[in-house]
């Protein structure tokens, strides 16, 4: 049996049978999966060169549906797992996928700190404004007044604005996409992977089962593309990006909101100047060992 060459192919025969996505028919995550595969094809990334890390939730099942190294980790903990793996071997292309509950709820602390560090990671959030896998509770991005199983009289908590949070936390590539427009999404994922630094892509990925408000139709009525309306915008203009990020209502912008080039964590960590950690020698030389003992004498 031949070994697969792209992450879109399956290595394991049984997988083709067993591992087809278990998402509901019409789930937005299908669009994200196909866009993600397309983006990696465009970039000619081989399965062994990529690590896809996720947390827990419907969308966090994604690593199981692509042919790459993957960790399907704990709820909310995909970013620290990805960070540890990237620091251990920064030759790997590392992509993190997950949902709004995973990333902006239980994992929001890691989200903020991962962006501050500006590691060369790509984080794709499938944002459906609901907890799907646990059958329809309010999520951190559920809009005010939305009725869910846990907000029967309508949500009273202000939703998180992921783009604003990303801007103020130091992400160096911030974009928004819609799973109903896979070509656009695929292009943004491709750019995100190419970006040297922390790339965050918030993807509207409708939950057809538990979110009857933020549907495909609801998004289609509101979304517009920044590249159409403001093709000459300065992507490094922070204030401009803040204004764009705050637009959420009758009109919702899609596209690249902010992009700056800054040194990555890997670039500034002195230990990594000697190459990936995983390739560095282990143990201690006698001279250094003796010196370390000597220093206490």
């Amino acid at each position: 049996m031949s070994i697969a060459n792209t992450i879109t192919e399956n290595t394991v025969k049984t997988r083709e049978v067993e591992v087809s996505p278990d998402w509901c028919l019409g789930c937005g995550d299908f669009g994200v999966l196909s866009s993600f595969k397309k983006a990696t094809l465009e970039k000619e990334i081989k399965p062994h060169e990529m690590l896809v890390v996720s947390g827990i939730g419907c969308s966090s099942n994604l690593p199981g549906y692509v042919n790459a190294y993957g960790v399907h980790s704990l709820h909310g903990r995909a970013l620290p797992i990805a960070t540890g793996a990237k620091l251990a071997n920064h030759n790997l292309k590392v992509v993190i996928t997950g949902g709004d509950g995973d990333g902006f709820g239980i994992g929001v602390g890691h989200f903020i700190h991962a962006m501050r560090r500006n590691l060369d990671l790509t984080y794709v959030v499938m944002d459906n404004e609901i907890y799907g896998l646990t059958t329809g509770q309010a999520s951190p991005t559920t809009m005010v007044e939305t009725k869910t199983k846990t907000t029967p009289r309508g949500n009273v908590e202000q939703p998180i604005n992921p783009l604003l949070l990303a801007l103020t936390s130091g992400a160096t590539f911030i974009a928004r996409a819609f799973s109903g427009q896979p070509a656009h999404l695929s292009s943004l994922i491709e750019q995100g992977i190419a970006h040297k630094g922390f790339a965050f892509i918030d993807v509207f990925s409708p939950c057809v089962t538990y979110n009857k408000i933020n549907t495909y139709a609801w998004f289609k009525e509101r979304i517009y593309k920044l590249e159409d309306e403001a093709p000459d915008r300065d992507l490094t203009d922070f204030s401009n990006a803040m204004t764009t990020a705050m637009e959420f209502g009758d009109r919702i912008p899609l596209g690249l909101v902010y992009k700056v080039d800054k040194p990555t964590y890997e670039d500034t960590e002195p230990v990594l100047l000697n190459g990936p950690l995983v390739k560095q020698p282990m143990g201690i030389k006698k001279e250094l060992f003796n010196k370390l003992l000597q220093e206490t004498m």
């Binding site: 049996m1 290595t11 062994h48 190294y69 960790v71 620290p80 540890g84 620091l87 143990g283 206490t296």
Partner: protein
């Protein structure tokens, strides 16, 4: 100032070791002074072992550092207290009464006085006026009083000045000749003043110096160095006492040791960072204390099911919750055993000394990688933060790194069949893992349970067979681990009257207890456990069945290890000796209680006179603005409190004026009443 000798007409006792206590406030430089003295001791070829007790009984931030100095390597800080170096008045009040007959108290008489009525018999007081003695040296920083006091101490300990001079030269090398000379001169003033004015206070001891210099490491720093020697490449941490020194040491030595150190936002991130690095193929470790460990526990199970090697260190402190951040305890055994939901293989190790911390770090990294599982190391504050002289040759830079099966190419057999199977069900339970990034072996490690390929079985209707077999495969790894770990062994005579059983950091203090019991004519031996999970049940039971009386000695309130021992062996011990007051065992405490147990005496949990005084100090600090101190104390049984009480006279700190009586319950320890005079 001047010569003042109290009751010094007894026959001079011959010493073979000396325990020095440094008392002062945070910021008095006790750590630096202790370290300076230890360097002198270690260069002379003697041994030192320290215990640093942070106290807040009198004033915030009171610190007491004990250094036991001996020709023989001692394994605990002992019972004795021969010399007090008092950097402030609190230290006199608090510690001077405990200095043993024949001992010495040294202090700066510009700001400290010593009331001889506080002292035991035959104590030598050495007041040194820093201001007068150094008046010709110009302005000096106050902390240099310590250097002067150390100079005096060395003379009184019968150690010549030369080594101190050399150590000062080395320590202040970066600061220039001026600072070096200043320090040496101040130290010499202390030395010569002791020689000229206090020669009769000199301790009767003849040292045999080998002049073989020895390193001085704490358990935490030893653990860090041991891990580096064993190939550690990645370390993550969130600051938490008493584990922070591992982080500090590794950060300081990160570049030259080639270890990437990452401080993270919380312990949940720390644990997952470490797992991510372990997954990607480097030796990975993290450390914390009980509270942080609690946050890590979900991730420990994650490492278990992902079959990812990673080492978690818990440097225990007093719990529960925030508990006693600067105090020691062995209270997290239950937590470690129960860490994370479900069944999965994990290993728990507990080093027995600072020296052992070096070895156990390497062993933990080896076991973690060979068996692809989480290893937990249970250290504690006593061992982690306190230093001991390391016997030359007990550590080697050479370490046999055993990484287990790591594949850089897909095995031919798999290539020809279905492709790479990450979690192949094998007899040993160990499935060869790929070096992430290697071609042809891409797989997903999932925290959902999964089959041999890694495909999750959580979303199929049911698959009892795969679930059973993958569970068994993982757990089977512990059989191999157990074979690899050294079984427990009885130390001391087989026909002992009593066996003292311990785990972790109590090894040294129990060892000394055995000697004390023998000196009292009681034949005793010791059974110590360094490996707590998996447990050598068969070997332990074989030993226990041959023992007479068996006592588990541990530093917690509920006998966590005693219960574990019972669970693993079914063996019922005779009794326990437990301590949970924040301070470590001293050998005499164990000896006394062991003798009492052998004599059938019941456990007495009443508040002792010393404890009543401690409680009074606390009351004074909280309610009486720290202006008083306890003086006379009596026990009164007929009273209206339903229990005997201690009644303490509290007097004005400055002039000794009676200010009132404080009543403390002997059984409950409750502060029943404060009755001010007039």
């Amino acid at each position: 100032m001047g010569k003042k000798e109290v009751k010094s007409n007894n026959m001079p006792k011959k010493y073979n070791e000396i325990t020095v206590g440094f008392g002062g406030a945070a910021g008095d430089g006790l750590d630096k002074s202790g370290n300076l003295l230890a360097r002198v001791i270690n260069r002379l070829g003697l041994y030192a072992i320290s215990y640093n007790s942070f106290q807040s009984l009198i004033r915030g931030g009171h610190t007491f550092l004990k250094l036991r100095i001996s020709e023989r390597k001692e394994m605990c800080f002992g019972d004795n207290f021969n010399v007090l170096l008092a950097m402030n008045q609190d230290s006199i009040e608090r510690h001077a009464p405990a200095v043993e007959p024949g001992g010495v108290i040294i202090f700066n008489s510009d700001k400290v006085t010593c009331d001889s009525s506080l002292l035991q018999e035959n104590i030598h007081i050495v007041p040194l006026s820093f201001k007068k003695l150094t008046s010709e040296m110009g302005k000096l920083i106050p902390i240099m009083q310590n250097t002067m006091i150390l100079g005096s101490l060395l003379y009184l300990m019968n150690i010549d000045f030369k080594t101190l001079e050399q150590v000062l030269r080395d320590i202040f090398k970066q600061k220039g000749q001026g600072i070096i000379d200043q320090n040496i001169n101040v130290a010499r003033i202390g030395y010569e003043t002791a020689l000229e004015d206090f020669a009769s206070a000199k301790i009767n001891i003849d040292w045999n110096f080998t002049h073989i210099s020895k390193p001085f490491y704490s358990g935490n720093t030893a653990m860090a160095l041991g891990a580096v020697a064993a190939g550690l490449k990645f370390y993550a941490a969130y600051p938490m006492s008493p584990a922070t020194n591992i982080l500090h040491w590794l950060v300081a030595n990160s570049e030259r040791c080639g270890v990437l150190v990452k401080q993270a936002e919380d312990e949940i991130a720390v644990a997952n960072l470490a797992i991510g690095a372990g997954y990607a193929g480097v030796r990975s470790m993290c450390a914390t204390s009980g509270g942080g460990f609690a946050l890590m526990t979900e991730a420990i199970g994650e490492a278990g099911i992902l079959e990812t090697p990673v080492v978690f260190i818990n440097v225990q402190r007093g719990g529960p919750s925030t508990g006693l951040p600067t105090k020691t305890e062995q209270g997290d055994l239950n937590q470690a055993i129960g860490a994370s939901q479900g069944d999965f293989p994990k290993v728990i190790m507990a080093p027995k000394s600072s020296t052992d911390c070096y070895h156990i770090a390497g062993e933990a990294l080896n076991i973690a990688e060979q068996y692809q599982l989480p290893v937990i190391i249970l250290s504690d504050l006593l061992m982690g933060e306190n230093f001991e002289t390391i016997e030359p040759g007990s550590w080697s830079h050479e370490f046999n790194i055993k990484r287990g099966d790591i594949l850089e190419e897909i095995p031919q057999s798999m290539k020809e069949k279905d492709g790479f199977k990450r979690f192949t069900f094998t007899p040993s339970g160990i499935s060869p893992r790929p070096l992430i990034g290697s071609e042809g072996m891409a797989y997903v490690a999932a925290t959902d349970d999964h089959d041999e390929d890694g495909v999750i079985i959580s979303d199929v209707f049911t698959n009892t067979a795969i679930r059973r077999k993958v569970n068994e495969k993982r757990m089977r790894k512990l059989d191999g681990v157990l074979d690899e770990l050294e079984p427990p062994q009885l130390e001391g005579p087989e026909d002992a009257e009593v066996t003292l059983i311990g785990w972790g950091s109590t090894w040294g203090v129990i060892r000394e207890t055995i000697e004390q019991l023998e000196a009292q004519g009681i034949k005793a031996n010791q059974l110590h456990f360094s490996y707590l999970l998996p447990f050598h049940s068969k070997e332990a039971l074989q030993i226990l069945n041959k023992c007479n009386k068996t006592i588990v000695v541990e530093l917690n309130a509920t006998g966590q290890f005693a219960r574990h021992l019972k669970a693993e062996t079914g063996f019922s011990i005779t009794d326990t000796i437990l301590k949970y007051d924040g301070e470590p065992f001293e050998p005499r405490m164990i000896t006394q209680r062991a003798v009492a147990i052998l004599n059938g005496e019941p456990l007495d949990l009443n508040v002792t006179e010393t404890e009543a005084r401690e409680m009074a100090y606390h009351y004074i600090r909280v309610h009486l603005k720290d202006k008083l101190r306890p003086s006379k104390i009596i026990e009164v049984s007929q009273n209206g409190y339903g229990e005997s009480v201690w009644v303490l006279d509290l007097i004005e700190r400055n002039n000794g004026e009676m200010k009132g009586k404080l009543t403390i319950g002997v059984e409950t320890g409750s502060t029943h009443k404060w009755d001010p005079t007039n």
